[in-house]
Amino acid sequence: GCTGGGGTTPPQSAPPSGAASAPAAAANGQFPRNETLYTSGTQYGPPANWNPIREWDFATGTKGLCYETLFLYDTQKGEFTPWLAESGSWTGDKEYTLKLRQGVTWSDGKPLVADDVVYTFELGKMETIPYHPLWEFLEKVEAVDPATVKFTFKEANYQQFANHLYSRAIVPKHVWDGRSEKEVLDGLNEKPVGTGPYAYHSHDQDRMVWVKRDGWWATKALNLDVKPKYIVDIVNGSNEVALGLLLQNGLDLSNNFLPGIANLVNGNFGIKTYYSKPPYMLSANTAWLVPNTTRKPMDDPEFRKALAHSIDLKTIVEKVYGNLVLPASPTGLLPQWDKFVDKSVVSSQGFTYDEAKAKKLLADAGYRDRDGDGLVENKDGSKIELELAVPNGWTDWMESIRVISASAKKAGINVEPVFPEYPKLVSDRSSGDFDLMINNERQLSNTPWLYYDYLFRLPVQKQQNTVNFGRYENERAWELTQDLDRTKVEDVEGMAKITSELQKIHLDEMPVIPLWYNGLWSQTTSTAWKNWPSAEGSAPKNPPTLWRNWIELGGIYTLTNLQPAQG
């Protein structure tokens, strides 16, 4: 069904403009409820830039609604869908050729050409650009013709490159050309010119408004259409406000962690989640307990294992989260990666909460309670006093580590929860100045390689900024991880073989202790829009989210599948 948008003519390829200059789009400054999609849960500060390079803080939808990627990746099916690209394939050992889709135009009317892709990837040559590491194995990008791009590699890191293919937002060279490194990195890009279905409408401190743009290529090419004429993304000040809005039907899609949502889903509030039963949400990432393996006694795998057995995960899942999360598999691999989990390894080496086992592991490894305080001491008799840190204010985690502390103490391990402010934690974590912490900074992606990259990346730097915060060093594991990277994306079996090895090492050594899967928090209401993704029946199965970097993981289909609730 393709019903345009309620009769009013959307502005022709709406020229993105400043906050004040687009009021004509909304009839007397109002967004009719039945044409507007209200979302929230992505943006934590006021929309401050529309710069697709700033993947961590651009305004919601900058990538996905406005700028688009070459491919999409379907996490459910594990498939790549050509998007701006028409196709792409490895045309040599170290050569990848990409065909661009024809008929794609930028919102200023210019066509998308190969040079745009080349320009985008070449931006990564700048050191401060987040995808700069790509150029460690990429040698060059060339436009063979206006519709063909050729990538030549120093080394074929298939997995990694596949990730780039659906992660990089393509920017128009004719607009961006000549921007300095500072502008590229820090520029606001107030007038985003993209290929996507929406254009900038207006913004305020607490909201971002997108307006549907005519002439989105996918309508013709893929018979896809986005129904909401306006998308109003509400800045997420606090979860409870979002919940309030949701209850008042002021939100159609909330991507917030809302405690107590289970009650509401089960009650008669018109709020739906992907699953109608626990865990209610799809899983989005794994929360790990990260021990600092350079410190005693966390340098001892046996101690780490004992610690893993001492965690009362059930209480966390049931009480703290009210069953909104799933306990993680001992491997920590997300359910979407189930095919890479070696069940035999898990059954032989996995762990669960088991106080007795934890005590036994401790005793066997030589950790005994020498002074009778119920807490074990180091092998050399010195006291063990470990601090488990989560950022202050992250309430669910704060509650969780209280639980961990309590159950660990029962097993005899002295773990105290601490709540430093976030920047402090970040700098401690980078420099390795911590005992234990919780971290979940790896999202679901196309490849478990990213997961193991997080666990095993070597060499350990002075500052560990994104991976291997525990400074765990295992050459073999890192080699295996690199091997995984060099395995072709289609070679699931080859990948599984390597991941099985990696899981063995992981469970043997416990460099990080997987705890639970954080959900792809998502709650929907159907007053204005229906056909939301759901596990049930024929409902769409895409991730119901506008989280940054998730629109290209299928979030865009959620929009194209939506239907007005009335009529």
């Binding site: 700069h132 109003v232 606090s238 406000v241 309030g244 209850l247 402010e421 920047p423």
Partner: protein
């Protein structure tokens, strides 16, 4: 007169200087490195990139020069009205964020302060008239002034917004509107304003009422009141006089209260997600945006100082005693 104000100005200047200095220290002496936080958010792993980004941001925030120079630069920038960039809303200048938030805070604070002051004083004077009023109505004042701002705000939000659904719970105007002068928009602004205003108003109202009641009792006991009564002046006249005189210390009280009031506005805005300065502070705290915190703090100090100065000036204008004293006529 000049001396008096000169001296006041000196105090203000010193306060300002102290505040700015504390302020300057905020991001520099906070645990954790804001730049590191910024870089960490960008999820850059490559050591070279990290270094490049670090250098880039250090330069951008002016943290790559010696500390004393940073301090000087800070003053320089300050005098140019430049409060630096926010991290929370990078790369929006802090001053922009503040300027955008101010109207909301002022729209809450000014009516709440003035109306509660006026109504509280009236009410307190009224309650002081009779013993039974004093014992029945005034306790309301005590309860109100003892109420934490946020709790009253919560109660109002819960009862009138969530349960009764009469008012919206949060934000400054409906998400279905864009700012304009249309009646819908103004109506929406008003509807969103009522509850935060009411919670501020009520708490302050209680305080002023009690203050006035206590003051006016002393005034009614004063010699001039007794003299008037002995000469058979009407009760109304005596009360009027007492009221006028009792209002004067309440003006000074207002100056001293500003800090508290600002704090009250802060939590109220937080409860209602009202996009004013208080909300900004919460966001700054939560995202550890010290540059923003710095700017907001400075702004509050400045605001309080200016307000204090105005109140001081008003006070000297309305109280003949200080005026005369200042002119040295009494000496």
């Amino acid at each position: 007169m000049r001396q008096y104000f000169g001296r006041k100005l000196l105090i203000y200047a010193l306060t300002f200087f102290a505040a700015v200095t504390i302020n300057w220290m905020i991001p520099r002496f906070m645990p954790g490195d804001p730049i590191q936080g910024l870089v960490a958010r960008a999820q850059v792993a490559d050591p070279a990139s990290v270094d490049a980004m670090n250098a880039h941001y250090r330069n951008l925030f002016g943290l790559d020069v010696p500390v004393w120079e940073q301090y000087m630069n800070f003053w320089g920038a300050l005098l140019r009205g430049d409060l630096g960039l926010s991290i929370w809303a990078f790369p929006t200048p802090v001053s922009d964020l503040i300027v955008r938030a101010i109207p909301y805070t002022l729209a809450l604070l000014i009516p709440a302060i003035l109306l509660s002051w006026w109504a509280g004083n009236r009410f307190g004077a009224f309650a002081a008239r009779r013993k039974w009023l004093d014992n029945t109505i005034l306790p309301v004042g005590y309860i109100l002034t003892a109420t934490p701002y946020m709790w009253l705000a919560l109660l109002l939000a819960w009862s009138l917004a969530i349960v009764a659904g009469i008012f919206p719970v949060s934000h400054a105007y409906s998400f279905s509107l864009t700012p304009s002068w249309s009646p819908e928009f103004l109506g929406s602004l008003l509807a969103h304003w009522v509850l935060p205003f009411a919670s501020l108003f009520l708490v302050m109202f209680g305080g002023w009422a009690i203050g006035m009641r206590n003051l006016i009792i002393y005034e009614l006991e004063a010699d001039y009141s007794n003299y008037l009564l002995a000469l058979g002046a009407r009760g109304k006249l005596v009360r009027d006089y007492a009221f006028r005189n009792a209002v004067l210390p309440q003006i000074t009280g207002l100056a001293l209260q500003l800090g508290t009031i600002v704090a009250g506005a802060l939590v109220t805005e937080i409860v209602f997600s009202y996009p004013g300065i208080g909300y900004l502070i919460l966001q700054a705290i939560n995202s550890q945006d010290f540059f923003l915190l710095q700017g907001v703090f400075l702004f509050i100090v400045l605001g309080v100082l200016i307000a204090n100065f105005i109140i001081d000036a008003v006070y000297t204008l309305v109280d003949p005693r200080t005026r005369v004293r200042l002119q040295g006529a009494g000496a």
